[in-house]
């Protein structure tokens, strides 16, 4: 890492000393190192095995492992297993989900919310991305994008709190409305699906904005000019040229935002109310209340994950179909 810096201090690479081996010379002359290097490079195959072993092991045990273990726990009747008790395979945890309204209502609510919020984010950020990519000079583009990035480095909780202050009964919005004489009494924005939506869109907008921006930025301006030359109006140009060619960006942005939206826990807890309970809260409940119900929690999390994967998978397939239909 430091060789770049040291190069500037020592252009000859020899640190001004008249004799002796250099650091690299010493390293490769050192017996144990030499043996290691010779062992590693004995064949291309061995070299590959040494390079690949750790990543493969890591990915299997650390990336896949937690998901598989969650799946396994979801299929057992008790976890952790008490001493002397046989753990047995069961599907009860999954059946339980369908048995009670208080379980599947939040589930469908979460998916519906995530879908609606994703759509809102798309509508909100597309003009912003379009403006940045099309109407701003190269130099300013980076600055104006950076301006939007800064707030997104701030964490989920802090930003959720900021929304609470904005929308509270004594919050800024109500203050302004009252000041304008539009209302006498504060509107209860908080603890509704509205406040939750404002918060979640606030948290996810960047993940939509960036893919849209890069898709729009890649699009040559000449396409639009050609369309205009052929007599297409602004709306037609957008619908027939820009939109089809940015479907890929829309598709990846929506997928990302949807997946993230389904996973929020703290934001719904803080911004939502009893009528907006999301599935994340249901799942968390099994890990927090007394009595260990981890297998049920694991089963519900698995259902959530599979549903999210299924929906985004179908969505991406549909988008791909649209893209082919329009361009091919």
């Amino acid at each position: 890492m430091s060789s770049d810096a040291s190069a500037r201090k020592d252009p000859s690479g020899l640190a001004g000393q008249p004799g002796g081996l250099t650091a690299w010379g010493r390293l490769v002359a050192w017996g144990p190192y030499r043996a290691l290097a010779d062992f590693t490079t004995a064949s291309p195959r061995r070299q590959f095995v040494i390079l690949a072993a750790f990543p493969i092991l890591w990915v299997l045990t650390q990336h896949l492992g937690p998901m598989l273990q969650m799946l396994r726990v979801s299929l057992t009747d008790a976890y952790p297993v008490a001493q002397g008790v046989e753990q047995s395979f069961t599907l009860d945890n999954y059946l339980r989900f369908f048995g009670d309204r208080i379980f599947w209502m939040p589930f469908f609510r979460t998916l519906a919310f995530a879908g609606v919020f994703t759509f809102c984010t798309l509508i909100l950020t597309y003009p912003v991305a379009y403006f940045l990519a099309r109407h701003v000079s190269r130099r300013n583009q980076m600055l104006m994008l950076l301006l939007l990035l800064v707030p997104f480095w701030v964490g989920e909780i802090v930003r959720t709190y900021a929304i609470m202050i904005l929308l509270g009964n004594t919050g800024a919005v109500n203050l302004v409305l009252k000041w304008l004489g539009l209302i006498d009494r504060p509107i209860p924005f908080m603890y509704t699906s509205f406040s939750m939506g404002v918060g979640i869109v606030y948290l996810t907008a960047l993940y939509m904005l960036l893919p849209l921006y890069s898709a729009l930025e890649k699009l040559p301006k000449s396409y639009n000019e050609a369309a205009a030359d052929l007599g297409a109006g602004a709306w037609t140009r957008f619908r027939r040229v820009t939109l089809p060619l940015t479907l890929e960006g829309i598709s990846s942005g929506c997928t990302l935002v949807f997946l993230i939206s389904t996973g929020f826990y703290a934001t719904p807890v803080l911004l939502g109310g009893p009528s907006t309970t999301v599935f994340a809260e249901t799942i968390a409940g099994f890990f927090h209340v007394a009595g260990d119900e981890w297998p049920t929690g694991a089963a519900f999390a698995t259902i959530m994950f599979l549903a999210a994967l299924l929906i985004t998978g179908v969505f991406q397939r549909v988008m791909r179909g649209l893209r082919k239909g329009d361009t091919g």
Partner: protein
Amino acid sequence: MIRGNRIFLSCAYWAFVLYVFVPLILMVMMGFKDSKFIGFPIRSWTLDWYSGVFADAEVLSTFGYSIAIAVLSTIASVVVGTWIAVLLERSRFKGWGVMFGLTVLPALVPGIISAIAFRIYARYLGIEPGMGAIIWAHAVHNVPFVVLVVMARLSTLPKSQIEAARDLGADPLVAFLRITLPYLVPAILGASIFCLLLSFDDFVRSFFLGGYDPTLPVLIFAKLKSGMSPEINAIATVALVLTAAIGIWAERFTRRANKDTN
């Protein structure tokens, strides 16, 4: 027509800027309010909440705890992520697609599911909830981001650079240390900053894997559940300034580093 479009789009952009900044600005302002009661209007101002924060040993130690977790998990993510990126970018093998899919998996799993999967796996591995568990979960979760950033950079390193090093007598490790690694420095630094922020800001994994000591977001969450107070605004503002400062610095740094090497 075109002009009208432009005005509409420019309004959309600036409205979005307001949407993004106003809540944070209000939140910061509220930390200076001379009253226990959160709400507008603010009639008198004070710095008491800040002096309170900097005098509060618990809050200060929480900052330290969060920073320590961020630094340690970032080191792990960067080492592992760089290694995986080198494998994925430098070789094509049977099952490459599967390997890539598994590599990015932790970044695609929705937050709550990721958190409880880690919670279950931690128990399976025998890791007690607490600092070690959080570091581990953050490290795993952040690996994909490192891999993607490092791969992007590595793909622009001409293959001949490594071949030249080998040709001149460097074994693969020396070639990596003297040629590849210096080339990757800007990407690794950028990815590190990103991991630091992700870890420092993370709530859901820290919440489910934490022991008795809260990380900063968990502390703010707990305080919020028991009621809003300008004290929370002061804590949140300090965290905000810290993260924004690191973010801006990193952005400038990586841009300059990229300019240097290109």
